[in-house]
Subunit: 376 residues, 2 copies
């Protein structure tokens, strides 16, 4: 270290750190792929009906974990190719990135539909006063409200038996069944599509390219001759700057005011497209991820302990998940011939998830502000 | 003042301050009653159909203001009879209070239904992305989101023209029409009931009793012989203590955590009764009012400038209004044969108002904590 300070050119080259990171991610990718095949996840190309039955119940935790690890390394390789592209063979990088994005997308969808269904069903139970409470609720109220809830559940049951009016809980149950039907179907289709993707020649080409990366990273001449600091740092700083610029564009003052009611402003809009107000937040989520990956290259394992960045990133993940869950509830409400009670429950659920969106923005604002204070 | 400090017994008696306050409130009551009659509000006993048409459109601002002033002084007289009952003729006080409560209730209902409808329609417009923004939203976003909203309103209109799917805005409109029908009917009935109450012999007995109060307050012997400080203060302190005890029972730790999701915990419960979790907050609202009135007697006009108490009280008013609006939306959703889109909009609206309930609790928590820090 002391020697490096005295003579920077004798230190590690930019290409060394970059190649080491890409090699480790590529190795991780290939390991996850092997694991996925061993877990029986990639029989690929089989009949969809067979695939469906083999996934839904079996669960195959190994296959799920392997798919997650595959996505994780694919995202990191793709992000690194993007952030440090001047140090890598341009044609090769440019050809590789859309293929990695296609693969990540194909693998992510099944998981996303499953997680969305779980989120919505959990919310339905919470809204019916019969579920676990959010982690942030103080213990003081946990006991209080739980007792209350239990008393109420009894009342509900009685109400349903006695009167014809108490259909809202029936509505919640029907809404849950409808969401389960729709999202399970979407998930099963995504599963088949993922299996087909993993069995395709397009995927084999991606895997071959990753295998190349695991042995020999196609660096430019600059990368091999520039010191790690002067080669990597400006590119990592540029990624951070893109993140900061995007955050500056967010309505953070409003987001920092609790209960600002902004996330539900389009709650009853007829537009079925994703809410335009969410887009800049989703964009920041992606830029934050790129910034995190760039830090992993710069600082290695130590970068992983930046709790503030992790908190901010988790808030944006929650923002994305809640926004998509809210959209799924709204979409289910457009199913023809549903009962009014079902539609009512879906309306409550949609609004609840949009509140989650607002809460996630608030959490991000707090995490981000703390970060910029902490980091000089 | 200096003399009073040297010789407390030479100062004003408890009965003097109490009688002065009750006299002024009684005078205010009689003035408001006269004003209400002059404004044509109290033709009383006329046919309901006639009464309906004469109110809905005419508005009669004078009658509305007079009714509010009547309620205002009735509440203060009733509260004072309660808090300072050891200083007043017991039989007389005990007979008077339920009558004043009956009158306040009869007068309040019409106004409450009107305000509830306005609150719900405003929320529906906001949720359709076509309305004024809440006052607490920072100006930064006001312009931002407004532009966004305008762009979206255009999209909505186009969506409705082009596709058959965009029925949710139709749902919001239908929900608004349904609420307008139901709450206007309830309001009209309350108006008729209020007019009948004001024309009844029961009311004339109340007015006669208030007239007695305006000239001669039925004090006990103690009230006339005890100094203002030693007579009034312990009773006012007891009222404050009842308030503080009730606040201690509130889940303030949770309420102070933004986005704690507690207010919507029963959002889909089948129980049509008011949410049990709201009751302790409503109780604190009433106790806070009694405390404020007691302060008016102790400190006179100066008591009115306690901004913290006013803020806390306003938060609890908002809590009550939002809770009742949420219940009205849920109740409208139980109307037979409504369209699913209408039910969906009512579900979103219900959740939105329950969110307002949660926001009001947060505001109360902040106001109250600030108060207890400020007051030694």
């Amino acid at each position: 270290m002391a020697q490096q300070h005295l003579d920077p050119t004798a230190g590690p080259m930019a290409g060394d750190a970059l190649a080491a990171y890409l090699r480790s991610q590529a190795t991780e990718f290939l390991r996850a792929l092997r694991q996925h095949r061993e877990a029986g996840g990639a029989t690929g190309g089989g009949p969809p009906a067979r695939a469906r039955s083999s996934v839904g119940e079996n669960g195959s935790k190994e296959a799920v974990d392997a798919a997650r690890a595959l996505r994780r390394s694919a995202r990191r390789i793709s992000g690194t190719l993007h952030t440090f592209r001047p140090l890598l063979d341009e044609g090769w990088s440019e050809a590789m990135r859309p293929e990695l994005a296609w693969l990540s997308g194909a693998l992510a969808r099944e998981h996303a539909y499953g997680a969305r269904l779980e989120r919505l069903l959990t919310a339905l139970h919470r809204l019916s006063g019969s579920a676990a409470f959010p982690a942030q609720a103080a213990s003081e109220v946990r006991t209080e409200v739980r007792t209350e809830v239990r008393a109420d559940v009894r009342t509900e049951v009685r109400a349903e038996v006695r009167t014809e009016k108490g259909t809202l809980t029936v509505g919640a149950a029907k809404a849950g069944a409808l969401l389960e039907r729709q999202l399970t179907l979407a998930r099963t289709r995504s599963h088949s599509a993922a299996l087909q993707a993993l069995g395709s020649s397009r995927f084999h080409a991606v895997a071959d390219n990753v295998a190349v990366l695991a042995s020999e990273v196609p660096l430019t001449a600059t990368a091999a001759m520039t010191g790690a600091a002067s080669g990597l740092k400006p590119l990592a700083a540029a990624a951070e700057q893109r993140l900061c610029d995007a955050v500056t564009g967010l309505p953070l003052v409003t987001a920092g005011h609790p209960y600002n009611s902004q996330a539900l402003v389009h709650g009853l809009s007829a537009d079925t497209a994703p809410q335009p107000q969410d887009a800049p937040w989703h964009q920041v989520r992606l830029l934050l991820r790129l910034h995190r990956y760039a830090r992993e290259i710069l600082f290695g394992g130590e970068a992983l302990v930046d709790v503030r960045l992790l908190n901010a990133g988790q808030a944006l993940d929650r923002h994305r998940d809640a926004a998509e869950a809210a959209a799924a509830a709204a979409s289910a409400a457009r199913t023809p011939r549903i009962a009014p009670a079902t539609a009512y429950a879906l309306g409550v659920l949609h609004a609840d998830q949009r509140h989650e969106v607002e809460a996630a923005r608030f959490t991000f604002q707090r995490a981000w502000m703390r970060e910029t204070v902490g980091t000089p």
